[in-house]
């Protein structure tokens, strides 16, 4: 089978799964539905591995021409290169594990078949996003994942208590994403009007080989628009507030869409468009500072969240900020490396939290958890690994990938390194707080909940274990060249040798001693925070405060820096106000009244004029004679 056939099969599998489950799933047993959806995912992953092993140079698979007009052509075409294959591996790999997990997690849900339909559909859209050979295809996938995200966030829309809130969160996510999408779309128009094509390779050729130099402002415009699109999907300031709300969806969804895959679409977009961004240093700077601000702000907000999933959500936002810092510095492969490891440990953490929530009978508040380590040991161990990985504990995957970005920051600007370290430190603080509050201390929930506490079934713990292994060893993919020289930076080389644009970008690496120094500092900091958290939460037994007790910075952190309130005041309320006012004043009064007024005016005129119709014959005759006489006089004078 050629690579193109394999590729089409990979694409078709989730779609077929979605179609079968969507149409027939209602009447099929749950086991069949789940097995089908998960089965196609594992098959797709296996095929992706085949591609990974066999494709070593860029390859295009033309499907059909969607639009062909005078000036341009938009194709349904797929592109195989290192970047798209790598993303396919992440999407199908992490995706299959999460599908497997969902089989257990959603087993009691009535919309079981719908859930798997949406999940498969999401994978399909995500694959279109990463595999398309042009921005048009990317946009298809881009909005497709947005719809699936909408459907899955609002999955429990008819829930008696939370139904409305869930659907509001879904709507918020879709609309904020739409704002970003508008930016992206305008970016597409800019590219199209400037270059006449949306194909990545054609664009790369024009920029890198033909050396076409558009104006600085044009490049700024294009990249800024693309970046706006990325801020929407990847939850950056100012369009990040939807992601924490998106936690209203079922937990596997949060793991799959809102942590591991969809939110990294923005990163993917920038890496894909590296040849544009490399020519727009201004946008790179903006990206860097936006990422930095997001990373800091989100980490700060995560410090005092009490919903286990919200903490992880803000952590995701913060990590994405970190990734944009990396992209802003031109460290594309480092960013992809972190995307990969982040997919591992964040999916692990989310699935772990899902397992915790499952055990706690759908309770998400960490204030009523505690001491869970003896009830759910596997979840405990894997969650601990995930926490250590994200906190940057030595030799775990997050340690390497984060360190890579930090190393770039040192070379770029020590100030940025300093600020990033604050964010990294906060990450460790809130993650250890979460871990200790959930798994250590005494159980604080109701006795009923305690009675129900149980470890999850194998189909839920197995993905946890696999992801835990990946989180531990994921760093091997891109080892820094500290100890040994051979075999290091494997992933960077893999991506660079076969991704347009990346091959020409010089990657700088720190000298060994500098690298050692940085790593040592990071390790030291993590250990100190680990120890400090242990003292505070385990030895002294500090607990999370209730909402009323919060004050000062804790309140601000808990209230997410009041972003939602500010947006409400700045955008939502004025828009609603405008809608009502415009309807009341312009539509009803100015336009409608004036139309009816005009009709009334004609009526009034008629009222006046009709008085002349006296109904008396003599009067009519009088006017007639008068008319005749005046006509006669007029003609007499005229001639």
């Amino acid at each position: 089978m050629g690579a193109d056939k394999i590729l089409l099969t990979i694409l078709a599998l989730p779609l077929i799964g979605a179609l079968i489950n969507g149409t027939l799933g209602k009447n099929m047993p749950k086991a069949v539905v789940g097995a089908l959806a998960t089965g196609v995912m594992f098959t797709a992953f296996a095929l992706a591995l085949v591609l990974f092993g066999s494709v070593h140079k860029q390859q295009l698979v033309h499907l059909f021409t969607m639009i062909s007009l005078d000036g341009f052509e938009l194709n349904a075409r797929l592109q195989l290169d290192s970047l798209s294959i790598w993303m396919t591996l992440i999407v199908t790999g992490v995706g299959s594990l999460i599908h497997l997990f969902s089989m257990g997690y959603m087993s009691h849900d009535k919309g079981y078949y719908k859930f798997f339909t949406y999940l498969n559909l999401f994978i399909f859209a995500m694959l279109i996003l990463v595999l398309g050979s042009n921005y048009f295809m990317l946009f298809f996938g881009w909005e497709g994942v947005g719809i699936c995200s909408y459907l899955l966030i609002g999955f429990h829309y008819s829930d008696a208590q939370k139904g409305i809130a869930n659907s509001v969160a879904a709507r918020k996510a879709f609309i904020m994403n739409r704002i970003g999408d508008l930016g992206l779309l305008i970016g597409l128009f800019l590219i199209l009007s400037q270059f006449g094509t949306l194909e990545y390779s054609a664009l790369a050729d024009k920029l890198l080989i033909e050396k076409i130099e558009p104006t600085t402002w044009m490049m700024f415009g294009i990249t800024a628009c693309l970046f706006i699109g990325a801020t929407g999907k990847s939850a950056q300031i100012p369009l990040f507030t939807w992601l924490p709300d998106a936690m209203a969806g079922p937990t596997p969804v949060s793991a799959l869409i809102h942590a591991a895959t969809m939110v990294t679409a923005g990163i993917f977009l920038v890496v894909r468009s590296n040849f544009f961004f490399e020519m727009a240093p201004m946008t790179q700077d903006i990206m860097l500072y936006v990422g930095l601000a997001t990373s800091l702000a989100a980490a700060f907000m995560a410090l005092r969240q009490n919903d286990i999933k919200k903490v992880l959500a803000y952590s995701t936002v913060s990590q994405l900020g970190l990734l944009f810092v990396a992209l802003g510095m031109g460290a594309y492969t480092a960013a992809m490396f972190h995307v990969t490891t982040h997919a591992f440990f964040k999916a692990l953490l989310f699935l772990g939290s899902g397992s915790v929530i499952h055990a706690m009978s759908d309770e998400q508040d960490i204030r009523v958890m505690g001491g869970l380590k003896k009830y759910i040991p596997i979840t405990h161990i894997t969650f601990l690994i995930g926490t250590l990985a994200i906190a940057g504990f030595p030799l775990l995957s997050g340690f390497y990938s984060k360190d890579e970005i930090l190393a770039h920051a040192v070379m770029h600007n020590p100030m940025i390194y300093g600020i990033l370290m604050v964010s990294v430190a906060m990450t460790a603080i809130y993650m250890f707080r979460l871990y200790f509050l959930v798994f250590h201390g005494n159980f604080r929930g109701t006795s009923e909940q305690q009675h129900h506490l149980h470890e999850s079934p194998l189909n839920m713990t197995l993905p946890l274990l696999v992801l835990a292994v990946l989180s531990v060893f994921g760093g091997i993919l891109n080892l820094p060249g500290v100890v040994m020289k051979a075999g290091t930076h494997w992933m960077s080389h893999y991506l660079e040798h076969n991704t347009r644009g990346l091959e020409v970008i010089e990657t700088h690496h720190l000298s060994s001693s500098q690298a050692m120094l940085l790593m040592g500092g990071a390790v030291l900091m993590t250990l100190i925070i680990l120890f400090g958290s242990f003292v505070v939460y385990v030895k002294r037994g500090s607990l999370a405060k209730s909402d009323e007790e919060l004050s000062g910075w804790e309140l601000v952190s808990n209230k997410k820096l009041y972003f939602d309130e500010i947006y409400n005041f700045l955008f939502v309320k004025p828009l609603e106000w405008m809608s009502e006012r415009i309807h009341a004043f312009v539509e009803v009064i100015a336009l409608n009244k004036s139309v009816y007024g005009f009709a009334g005016l004609i009526g009034k005129t008629g009222d006046i004029v009709r008085k002349w119709q006296t109904g008396v014959v003599s009067n009519y005759l009088f006017w007639m004679v008068l008319g005749v006489i005046s006509l006669v006089i007029y003609y007499l004078i005229k001639f």
Binding site: V609, Q613, T614, G615, V617, S618, L621, F622, V625
Partner: protein, 109 residues
């Protein structure tokens, strides 16, 4: 003077025109100012006859007969009109006991 000219050259067309105009004006003014329907009908007859007079006068003046033919038509029509008009009037009188046209103002706007 006038009489003299009449005796000298016969009745000129001008006299007929003046006479017809005066008759027509009397009729028209009568229609406008009087309210008795019978008088109105009579005034309408007067106007028609003024026209008839003019027709006959011009017919003689031009030495052609078609004007006089028209007069016959008009007389027939006038007779028919008077018949219909009077019968309407009689019906109206039976209903409202009056021939005052001021009362018939159902068309008032």
């Amino acid at each position: 003077m006038v009489l003299a000219s009449i005796f000298e050259s016969g009745v000129s067309i001008d006299f007929y025109i003046v006479l017809a105009s005066v008759l027509f004006a009397i009729g028209a003014v009568g229609v406008m100012v009087r309210r008795n329907a019978i008088v109105l009908l009579m005034c309408i007859e007067l106007m028609l006859n003024a026209v008839n007079l003019l027709m006959v006068a011009f017919s003689t003046y031009h030495g052609k007969g078609d004007g006089q033919v028209f007069v016959f038509f008009i007389m027939v029509v006038a007779a028919a009109e008077a018949t219909v008009g009077l019968s309407i009037l009689v019906m109206a009188y039976r209903n409202i006991r009056s021939t005052d046209v001021g009362i018939f103002n159902k068309l008032k706007g």
